[in-house]
């Protein structure tokens, strides 16, 4: 009896320790976002306060007004912040890239899984091997290529290098291997064309892995920074990540941080809210990306 009691006491203690660790870690993880939010609601006079206040004393939306409508307080001269334009650019590019990745991954994944033809395995291995190429090795040549064909500072240039995902093809091939051949054969006997089979049978069956692939592709594209940095030259072609990085001087005047934090909160909140609701898809997508 005594031993059992000690064991349950140890368990209780262990549980408490686990909870304490998890709670402290959660606070650390959430704090930067809380701090950005708090800063974004402060008037300039409070930005310099030391000790800093966690909750703004006189909360204001003036920083948000600056970002959204260009309302500057008197005495502050700054160029316009086309946050809306950057946002739309990012959404447009991420959507188009995701659309292409879903199409190419599902159709060629299906072909690699269910068709036999000469050179199939070679082609597949070749595409798979391109996953090993780090972006840094190709970026210089890609840049020169874009200069040569006159694509610098265009949407094509921002989209084209990412329209195919070797990982997506691999993932969809694995999935399509599990589709019974009978489905396909039956449709062929009925006289369906290959295109109809893909559109009416295969694509609908791929819905779930494609949703995960979409979440994954979209979030990777959303975060893309290096390539847009190289290839865009004008403010109206920038994407959000670039706008947030390049527009604001980092060692500059500190009060700019209030405006910057407002811009950041505006740009991350939609994603965070979307994530909290569509968590399942996000998390499976990331796990799937880990199960290659």
């Amino acid at each position: 009896m005594g031993l059992k009691k000690t064991i349950s006491k140890v368990h209780l203690l262990l549980n408490c320790v686990i909870y304490v660790i998890l709670i402290i870690t959660s606070l650390v993880m959430i704090f930067p976002i809380f701090w950005a939010l708090s800063t974004s609601l402060k008037p300039y006079s409070e930005i310099f306060d030391y000790p800093p206040k966690f909750i703004p004393e006189h909360p204001t939306l003036q920083n948000y007004a600056t970002v959204l409508f260009g309302w500057y307080p008197p005495g502050l001269v700054m160029t316009e912040i086309p946050l809306g334009r950057w946002f739309l650019n990012t959404i447009l590019i991420s959507f188009v890239v995701t659309f292409f990745v879903l199409f190419t991954s599902s159709i060629s994944g299906y072909v690699f899984a269910k068709f036999h033809f000469k050179g199939r395995d070679f082609l597949f291995m070749m595409l798979l091997a391109s996953m090993m190429i780090p972006f840094v090795v190709i970026m210089i040549s890609l840049y020169i290529l874009m200069v040569q064909i006159g694509w610098v500072n265009t949407y094509q240039a921002l989209i084209a290098p990412f329209i195919v995902s070797p990982f997506g093809i691999f993932m969809m091939r694995q999935f399509c291997k599990g589709i019974p051949n009978e489905y396909i054969d039956a449709a062929r006997i009925e006289g369906c064309s290959e295109f109809t089979i893909y559109g009416k049978i295969i694509f609908p069956l791929c819905k779930h892995p494609l949703a995960a692939l979409a979440a994954y592709t979209f979030s990777v594209q959303w975060d893309e920074f290096l390539w847009p940095l190289l290839i865009t030259t004008s403010s109206d072609m920038r994407v959000l990540s670039l706008g947030l990085a390049v527009f604001f001087p980092f060692y500059g005047t500190i009060y700019l941080y209030a405006i910057l934090m407002a811009a950041i909160i505006l740009s991350i909140m939609p994603v965070i809210i979307f994530f909290v609701f569509a968590q399942r898809y996000f998390i499976t997508s990331f796990v799937l990306s880990g199960l290659k």
Partner: protein, 295 residues
């Protein structure tokens, strides 16, 4: 009679399916890969247009380039720092697994994962603001529990650890989720059986969890390693490689060489060396683990 080549429906489908991927592969992967190699044997400045063949000169110069050595050291530092930090993720995943109530577990998981969906640039900017030596909130918090203020991004010694913290903050949730998935794929019956045999928690960890988690661990390490070797956004946004050159990473250095100095030939050679490092390192890691685990 018309002599048109009529492809069968099947061939037409295959061609349609593979046209974009193969075209993409040739134009956007294979060609740049070869062209960068070609460039790396030349001296070529972006605006001059003159390309002079130099043989292996670029590669030889890199070996004597102190800035390359600095970038390499910094990058290795980041890679090592992040690999050590992986264990935190494993610990937290194990802790989460211990929580019986799914609802509470979900709350923690959501909070841990939120930084992962925050754009890297936004994360870098938020942390830059928090790291401010004189007004920053981190120094305030540290001083309130009795620490001296740190210089963070303005100190050559502290800048790399500061960057590691930012990257860790963003990746931790993702890594925890991967470890959790790995843990939950271990059949529960193993634990039940060992419990009947009177195994302690530690023995269960050592003989069941650890060996069966190895594939996940390997995956997390190799991918984490490859992405850490390509760290770029954080030094670019937070420090521009500074103070001085103390936060230059390999990719940042390539970027500087290619697009600030316009020295494309040299930058190409640099990028091939990075490629080589990534290739050899991931190969060695995979082999090492294969020998130790699956042999």
């Amino acid at each position: 009679m018309k002599h048109t080549i009529r492809l069968s429906d099947r061939s037409r489908f295959i061609v349609t399916a593979l046209l974009i991927p193969i075209g993409w592969f040739i134009i956007f992967r294979l060609y740049p890969l070869c062209y960068t190699l070609y460039l790396s044997f030349h001296t070529y400045y972006l605006l001059s247009g003159q390309m002079i063949f130099q043989g292996l000169l670029n590669y030889v110069s890199i070996l004597h380039d102190t800035l390359f050595i600095t970038s390499l050291k910094n990058t290795i530092y980041i890679v090592l720092g992040l690999s050590i930090a992986m264990w935190i993720a494993l610990g937290l995943a194990l802790a989460l697994k211990n929580i019986k109530k799914a609802f509470i577990r979900n709350i923690f998981r959501t909070i841990f994962f939120i930084p992962t969906v925050v754009m890297s640039v936004a994360a870098a900017q938020i942390w830059t603001w928090m790291y401010q030596p004189s007004y920053g909130v981190i120094n305030y918090l540290l001083s309130s529990i009795g620490f001296k203020p740190f210089l963070w991004l303005t100190s050559p010694q502290q800048v790399i650890p500061a960057l590691i913290i930012v990257i860790l903050w963003k990746n931790l949730g993702f890594t925890i989720i991967l470890f959790e998935a790995g843990l939950s794929s271990i059949p529960g019956i193993f634990y039940e059986a060992s419990e009947i045999d009177g195994a302690t928690k530690w023995q269960q960890f050592k003989y069941i969890t650890w060996p069966l988690l190895t594939p996940t661990l390997l995956f997390v390490f190799v991918t984490g390693f490859i992405s850490a070797l390509q760290t770029f956004t954080q030094p670019y946004v937070m420090t521009m490689g500074g103070p001085g050159t103390s936060s230059y990473t390999l990719v940042f250095y390539v970027y500087q060489r290619a697009f600030a100095y316009k020295d494309l030939g040299y930058a190409s050679a640099l990028s091939y060396i990075i490629f080589l490092i990534i290739f050899i390192a991931s190969y060695l890691q995979l082999r090492y683990v294969k020998e130790r685990v699956w042999a």
